[in-house]
């Protein structure tokens, strides 16, 4: 049986009192010895920060294991659930505290799956924030190697001098982020370049 999926709709401007929750951005405590900050800014087509976007991340732990543990909405401070949610602030900036994910397969470069919702964005967008890795590792990765070379950098998080990972998102423009679509996940962009 194949059923037609229910369409998505924009998250709108008024999700702020409903979807974000205390601790959503902290997959681990800042005091965790392996804690890393993953942060960035969401930009619109004019290069202006988007103040009403929401991000979710979903990732394996540092060994590449995928958590099957509940508790993301009420964290116990010990269990790594692999999922978090954060709204951007008034300057379009988001911030998560998490672990650097391990690889989930022999040729797979480690990454955090990122989902973006925003007012004005009709349906969620998926992308991947790859960790800075050896060039050979990135070149072998099946997804990265399928992306045109001039756009590949939009999928790579960069290491800041304070050790944090920076991953900006651009809805449009020269550095437009590569957004992903999957088999069985219909998405209609409307006219594209």
């Amino acid at each position: 049986m194949k059923l037609t999926p229910t369409p998505g709709q924009t998250v709108g401007p008024f999700f702020g009192y409903a979807l974000p929750y205390a601790g959503g951005e902290a997959l681990v405590d800042r005091s965790h010895p392996s804690a890393v900050r993953l942060h960035g800014t969401v930009y619109d087509g004019d290069g202006v920060p988007v103040p009403d976007a929401l991000l979710e991340i979903w990732q394996p732990d540092e060994h590449g294991a995928i958590s099957r543990q509940p508790g993301s909405l009420h964290r116990d401070g010990y269990t790594f659930t692999g999922w978090g949610r954060a709204a951007v602030d008034g300057a379009g900036h988001y911030s998560f505290t998490t672990l650097e994910p391990g690889s989930t397969g022999p040729e797979v470069a480690p990454y955090v799956l990122v989902t973006i919702f925003a007012r004005g964005l009709m349906d969620r967008l998926f992308t991947r924030a790859y960790l800075p890795s050896e060039p050979a590792t990135l070149e072998r990765d099946p997804l990265l190697s399928s992306v045109p070379a001039e756009r590949r950098h939009t999928l790579l998080a960069s290491r800041e001098s304070d050790g944090s990972l920076r991953f900006d998102i651009h809805f449009q423009g020269e550095d437009e982020t590569v957004f992903l679509t999957y088999p069985n996940t219909p998405q209609f962009t409307g006219p594209v370049d």
Binding site: P5, P13, A18, T189
Partner: protein, 265 residues
Amino acid sequence: MAEKNTDPDAAVLSQAEIDTEIAAIHAEYRAQRDAGAPVETNARLNFPPYRSSLLRHPTKSLHHADPEDIELHSPAFGHRDVSALESDLTIQHNGEPIGERIIVTGRVIDGDGRAVAGQLVEMWQANAAGRYMHKRDQHPAPLDPNFTGVGRTLTGPDGEYSFTTIKPAPYPWKNHNNAWRSAHIHFSLFGTDFTQRIVTQMYFPGDPIFALDPIYQSITDQAARDRLVATYDHSVSQHEWNTGYRWDIVLSGSNRTWAEQEEEH
């Protein structure tokens, strides 16, 4: 295409101008579909009548990815995350909220017809006067001290969910002059694969604003738009208590194989 005012709150255009833009996009879509182009089952990311989308839609085609391990799984939620009381939005304060008490119920299934069991469903909405409990909603309609408008639940073994709430009213916005949103409830859903994740809006049957609402009309195909409209179900209504609506939600097909699915049982 003429230069568009990209300020989403400019509210310069009339409803008639927005209606004309929507009609032109829909007519072009229908012509292409009837000539053999794919039937569109989702909202368009690039839909200019919804002004906030102008600078916030990707301009390049989405990149096809083969789902990997993390994308073939979803986070787990349980009773640690969600209390049973959170599905009743009418009992979150000391008093009863004002408005028409309703139950919205249905099932969450995937594109292969399999129930999505034990997964998180979140919802949020305006109150019976069309006002959100959100500081950015400042239009002159009353807040209800007994209604926040946020609910959560976990789906049952057959994918079923149920919320007890108050019927939300339409509300004004600044997309164009005298713009109103159809009454709706926002829903956030997870599947068994993270790629099935959606946020959407449920509407009520017979809403007179449907044709005027560019967010609803961003779905170019009538059959797809209809999938967001609940049906009145008298068997969900209860004597002297509530009216009832039924809305089933179909997530996209799982990318997993049946064998992988079975391993988890």
